[in-house]
């Protein structure tokens, strides 16, 4: 029998429909894999009863011919999504005991379509980080290792649990969120596919907020097709989110295999940043060649304000976060550390409940919004954000259909390897991804082969607003050319 943890969502869907295996078997296989892969620390909570119950119900619906589009597909959920009756922590001590009485719209959409809930996946605390090292549960571990090395590597962040679990076969697909690169960077680090859709494509309702104007839910999967399948389920208009787009959700899977002939692909010259490794540069070249071979036209484009994106991000995101995280005050839910009065209760609770990185970002955000600095920092950053978006609009107006860039400046690094790096150095991880969030555009990370150290490298495709279909078509072309990557399962 095939290893049910090595198949794709599409294959699982076919196998379930053909009754080659049952949803219960499929789910059990994943629960066993999770059990065997505890050392990866991908899951922070496994919900086996819920999963098997869901699988049983899925089997019943499959038998009755009432299967939903994701019937019986086992999914892992980033711990940023509120799940009803299932502890949701954002991997922060401050929420370590929080059990929501509500279900996020994104996950509710998955369950509506028949998916099976395996459990909650590790992430950086409140999604703030690029290596999953800020999680109060400790870092998730990349299934990939450097050739001949046993040094544990990061699976990226903030959706590090999602990327590790997908790469390791601990779920068929995972939900994730992306504020500055938190889907695409971990996907690139683990040889998986990650889609951050257009801002407003997926509801933010019930997802713990980091930076409201940048946050967007998406998925990490093993293939481009799987991303297309899952995105169709989680996307859609939600009247409970004022920033949700009221427009129909296309059949993304139909874009898989669509010809890319004649598409115009932009290569932004400003992404040739200083310190870009020759390996990544070569990968980028190769990606362009693959698309050209598939019939696309590759042109150089200019996104002149790219170099400011990271600085803008490190004003806007902390500013919004400082306000979004004000609700964690020890009064209505979460952890409380008493004090002699209410002010002390707040200060004690938040000092003990938040980790270093979260506190650092709250402080910087508080500072840039404070009296006398607001215009110089926040307003200025939002103005440059307008310029960044205009850069993209100009490129798209010139007839470019999508933009190709590297996903990350380096392959995965060792856990703790950058412990002494300055915050700014860590932030450089997001250099290629963050502009996309600034402009609210869709971005797809696709594995493009292994680097010299034997680690996966990823390319990023950036699309027009709400044109995820073109990204899937192009991503499929790259996947076809590069081939799929399968992590060695050294832990079992």
């Amino acid at each position: 029998m095939t290893d049910l943890t090595r198949i794709t969502v599409a294959q699982a869907r076919d196998g379930l429909k053909a009754r080659t295996f049952s949803a219960t078997e499929l789910t059990q296989a994943h629960l066993d894999a999770i059990e065997a892969a505890k050392s990866l620390n991908a899951y922070v909570l496994v919900t086996p009863e819920k999963a098997l119950e869901g699988a049983k119900a899925a089997d019943a619906r499959l038998a009755a011919g009432e299967a939903g589009p994701l019937e019986g597909i086992p999914i892992g959920v980033k711990d940023l999504f509120a799940t009803e009756g299932v502890r949701t922590t954002a991997c922060s001590r401050i929420l370590e005991n929080f059990v929501p009485s509500y279900e996020s719209t994104v996950t509710a959409n998955l369950w509506r379509d028949g998916a099976v809930h395996l459990g909650k996946l590790n992430n950086d605390e409140f999604a703030m980080g690029s290596a999953n090292e800020t999680s109060c549960f400790g870092p998730s571990v990349n299934p990939w290792r450097r050739t001949g090395s046993e040094v544990p590597l990061t699976s990226g962040g903030s959706s590090g649990g999602s990327s590790a679990a997908v790469a390791a076969g601990l779920c068929l697909g995972a939900t994730a969120t992306d504020t500055g690169g938190s889907i695409r960077q971990p996907a690139a680090f683990t040889g998986t596919v990650g889609i951050k859709p257009t801002y407003g494509r997926c509801s933010r309702w019930g997802t713990v907020a980091f930076a409201s104007s940048l946050d967007q839910a998406g998925v990490i999967t093993r293939t481009v097709r799987d991303s297309a399948i899952l995105l169709r389920s989680i996307a859609g208009f939600d009247p409970k989110d004022s920033t949700s787009a009221d427009r129909p959700v296309p059949d993304y899977e139909a874009a898989i295999g669509r010809s890319v002939k004649g598409l115009k692909i932009g290569i932004p010259k400003e992404y040739r940043v200083e310190g870009l490794s020759p390996e990544i540069d070569a990968l980028w070249q190769r990606g362009a060649d693959w698309l050209r071979d598939a019939g696309a036209e590759v042109v150089e484009v200019s996104l002149p304000h790219t170099s400011y994106a990271l600085a803008v991000y490190y004003i806007v995101a902390p500013a919004e976060a400082s306000s979004n995280l004000a609700r964690y005050d020890g009064v209505r839910y979460g952890v409380r550390v008493p004090g002699k009065d209410i002010a002390e209760l707040y200060e004690n609770t938040r000092a003990a409940g938040f980790g270093r990185e979260v506190k650092r970002r709250i402080l910087i955000g508080t500072y840039v919004l404070s009296a006398g600095y607001y215009d110089a920092y926040y307003v200025k950053a939002q103005k440059i954000r307008t310029l960044i978006r205009q850069d993209f609009e100009n490129v798209y107006a010139s007839g470019v259909d999508a933009i190709l860039t590297p996903a990350t400046p380096t392959p995965a690094f060792g856990i703790g390897e950058k412990a002494n790096a300055s915050p700014v150095e860590m932030y450089l991880n997001d250099v290629f991804t963050v502009t996309v969030n600034m402009a609210g555009l869709p971005g797809l990370a696709v594995p493009a082969g292994l680097g010299a150290e034997g680690l996966p490298l990823g390319l990023q495709l950036i699309g027009r607003p709400f044109d995820e279909e073109t990204l899937f078509a192009l991503g499929e072309a790259i996947e076809q050319a590069a081939g799929r990557l399968d992590a060695p399962r050294w832990w079992s």
Partner: protein, 490 residues
């Protein structure tokens, strides 16, 4: 702002005259079924945390969605204040920590409010008219409520009010006395109630005022102001201003200086005192709420609301004066509440306006006040009151009988015309019957007959006697005429 001070407003201090300068921020609860950004009920007085949604309690991942009716109500109010309506406005977050503020910020409008400059015309009891400038009106969320007396050492937090829509209406510092301030709030409340955008119920905290008070020598620049927070009755607004102005004058006359601060009015002690806990450096870190987009609508939306606006008190007052010939005072009294004005108009329809106003204001209001009724619960309907007025006009009853009839209708109800018939209250206009009564009185009082020839004012005594003998039903004019003729008085 530097217009000469109305002399009646000056306060005599030990060292000369002082002028009070007052500006107000009124928080008016928007009349709506559900909250500004959530679907929870705005009903007053629910069990603790019962009218609270996950959004109002700021659970992780909750998001605001704006209530269309609150937007419309704010625009209606702006129109009623003859104010600039901004087709684009922005919701900001005002960040601060407080147990009754679950999000850690209040969603409010800081830089770009929904309503800009407007004005309120206020007619004062002394006949002066002042125009109070409105700086802005913005929409914002109310906070929850902390209860301090349920447990020693602890406060209990109820979020039922959290997220209810408020309109903050900011006036210019155009008020110069507690009387003007009270008249302004009264007028503003009247306008809001006419518009139906706020019920103005101050007992429930649905209308409350932050009062900014400063004093200065007439003609001098503005002094340092103190803000008295959350005063929740019109009487207290007046008392707080009086106390605060005297306090400030006292300090200044002693050579001291006023600290700009937030103060609290203690109605029990009739004093204001500093709110030390709120004094800590305010740094609200306002920024546009990224969970919301700018609020936009088109002029057609505004025009549609304008077309449906009711007649407002100022216009109604002018109309009452011209259409019914009322005095400005009577018109003011009648337009103070929309339902009184409506009641009056129902009474006045097809009748003499002055008589209608007289009966509504003097008879009905007097009685309603005494019995703790309002126009809406009045035992005498407009149709009944109109019926009584008709009977007077038709000379079927006298004014005196009319008052008796009013009493009967008040306590027993019924159609006045039928009551008059059934109870024999009809005025006697039959000259024969009156003549007989007059003859009897003249015959019985020869001495008075002699006297009245020398002293014609005694005629009143004869009228009284005749009325008495006819049970008050004789037409007084007819009695007069017959007496004069028979007594030979001109």
């Amino acid at each position: 702002m530097n217009a000469p001070a109305a002399t009646q407003n000056l306060i005599k201090g030990a060292t000369g005259d002082w002028e009070i300068v007052i500006g107000m921020e009124i928080h008016a609860q928007v009349s709506s079924q559900s909250k500004l950004f959530s679907g929870a009920s705005t009903a007053f007085g629910g069990a603790p945390n019962d009218h609270v949604s996950l959004v109002d309690a700021a659970f992780p991942g909750m998001l605001p969605v704006i209530n269309a009716e609150c937007v419309a109500q704010a625009v209606r109010t702006g129109l009623g204040l003859k104010a600039q309506i901004n087709l684009k406005s922005v919701f900001d977050r005002k960040n601060y920590f407080y147990p009754d503020l679950p999000q850690g910020y209040q969603i409010s409008q800081f830089k770009h409010p929904i309503v800009g400059e407007g004005e309120v015309i206020v007619d004062l009891l002394d006949g002066r008219r002042i125009v109070v400038g409105i700086e802005r009106l913005h929409l914002e969320q109310d906070a929850g409520k902390s209860v301090h007396d349920l447990s020693p050492g602890e406060s209990y937090v109820d979020l039922n009010r959290s997220g209810v829509a408020l309109m903050e209406i900011v006036s210019r510092p155009d008020l110069r006395s507690s009387e003007e301030a009270k008249a302004y709030v009264t007028k503003l409340r009247t306008i809001l109630r006419y518009l139906g955008t706020c019920d103005g119920d101050m007992d429930k905290g649905n209308l409350r005022a932050d009062v900014n008070v400063s004093v200065r020598r007439p003609g001098e620049p503005l002094g340092t102001r103190c803000e008295i927070k959350n005063v929740n009755s019109i009487r207290f607004i007046g008392q707080a201003i009086e106390y605060e102005a005297r306090r400030q004058i006292g300090i200044l006359e002693d050579g001291g200086a006023i600290d700009q601060e937030t103060r609290l009015y203690d109605a029990g002690k009739n004093e204001t005192r500093s709110m030390r806990s709120k004094e800590e450096a305010h740094d609200y870190r306002y920024f546009p709420d990224p969970d919301l987009l700018p609020l936009t609508f088109d002029q057609a939306f505004v025009d549609g609301l304008a077309a449906e606006l009711p007649e407002l008190p100022d216009a109604k007052k002018e109309r009452f004066i011209t259409q019914y010939g009322l005095s400005a005072y009577d018109a003011d009294v009648l337009v103070a509440e929309r339902d009184t004005a409506d009641f009056f108009e129902e009474v006045a329809r097809g009748r003499d306006g002055k008589a209608a106003a007289n009966w509504v204001i003097n008879e009905l209001f007097g009685r309603l006040n005494k019995e703790g009724h309002t126009v809406s619960t009045s035992p005498v309907s407009a149709a009944q009151l109109g019926g009584i007025i008709d009977l007077i006009g038709e000379k079927v009853i006298s004014g005196k009988i009319a008052k008796d009839l009013f009493e009967i209708v008040w306590s027993e109800g019924g159609d006045p015309r039928v009551l008059v018939e059934e109870r024999g209250l009809k005025q006697v206009t039959d000259t024969g019957a009156i003549e007989a009564a007059v003859d009897a009185i003249i015959a019985g009082n020869p001495d008075k007959v002699e006297q009245v020839k020398l002293k014609p004012t005694l005629l009143g005594w004869f009228v009284g006697q005749v009325m008495k003998s006819t049970g008050g039903k004789a037409n007084p004019q007819a009695v007069n005429d017959v007496l004069k003729a028979k007594l030979g008085i001109e």
